[in-house]
Symmetry: C2
Subunit: 156 residues, 2 copies
DNA sequence: GCGATATCGTCAACCAGGTTGTCGAGTAGC
DNA sequence: GCTACTCGACAACCTGGTTGACGATATCGC
């Protein structure tokens, strides 16, 4: 193995960042210049049926307070609406808006484009091997607290 | 392609995080329980001959104020010493201590162990394919602004 | 039915790491 | 020598995370 260990880990970070940057470009092209992948992740976590703030926190691997802040941001951006839960008057049901569904669709398209580009770059066979290997290595590790540059505002 | 695009990007993040967590574990075992990869990263940037705060900021891609904070942290942890530059009495020369050299050596060992573990998990052939693919995808993208969980303190 | 206990979401305080702006000290150019 | 620039420090602020406390509500046990 020619690569030193630290370089492999650095490559993972670089590839991830490359993907995020590319996706941001795709989303900007599709009319969501301010959308960050973190929005998509959170909306995915909310799911088509909605979820409460606590559940969102668990799914994202952060505290419920952090999840509440995220939810507020999403709400202000018009991506989620708060509904009440009939069965539990303490709980708040976060539900995706139509705008969120559109963003998710655009995001899925963007991801496919980015990843298809990668597949073409590295070759289908090697690409599939990479994905298999990543799946083993990553071992369903939750993202947890998302990197700062995931949500960095685009330069004004 | 069975994997949706977004999952591939998620796997990259998960694998990176897995590597960082594993390295933290290795470093803790080797007697550096508080060391984070970001320390090694900054020490690498300082280099064997040392550098000034401004240079450190440029090399890490952050402002000199942020570099100064990093340098203070490194100094408090005993990894760097401040020396004066005879040619310029404004400047401060950051220089690695012996302890820093030891940390860097331990860090290299830790990275090797982590990556060897991965290689064993996924098989040498597939692993090499993954690294090749990552090198193409990452395309020497610089890390830039480091993720927050890179420096997260270990739970007490 | 009712008290004890647990959970939901919010507020407040704090931390880490980043940013910009300002400023004194020191260097360099004319 | 005066001016302009650079180095590093300080202060203020932003973002996104954390923990702790608390009111409101559910749920359990008797």
């Amino acid at each position: 193995m020619s690569e030193p260990g630290w370089r492999v880990v650095l490559l993972l970070a670089g590839a991830f960042r490359q993907g995020v940057d590319a996706l941001n470009g795709e989303l900007a092209e599709q009319g969501y210049p301010g959308a960050r992948p973190v929005h998509g992740f959170a909306l995915q976590a909310i799911g088509p049926d909605g979820c409460t703030i606590n559940e969102l926190g668990q799914r994202l691997g952060v505290s419920k307070q952090a999840a509440a802040k995220t939810a507020t941001g999403l709400e202000n951006a018009g991506y989620v609406a708060r509904e009440s839960v009939p069965a539990d008057r303490r709980a708040v049901l976060l539900r995706r808006t139509e705008r969120a569904e559109e963003l998710l669709a655009a995001s899925a398209v963007g991801f496919e484009r980015v990843v298809d580009g990668w597949r073409r770059q590295v070759g289908a066979e090697r690409f599939d091997a990479m994905v298999e290997a990543l799946a083993i290595v990553a071992d369903d590790k939750p993202i947890g607290d998302l990197p700062g540059w995931l949500v960095q505002r685009p330069p004004p």
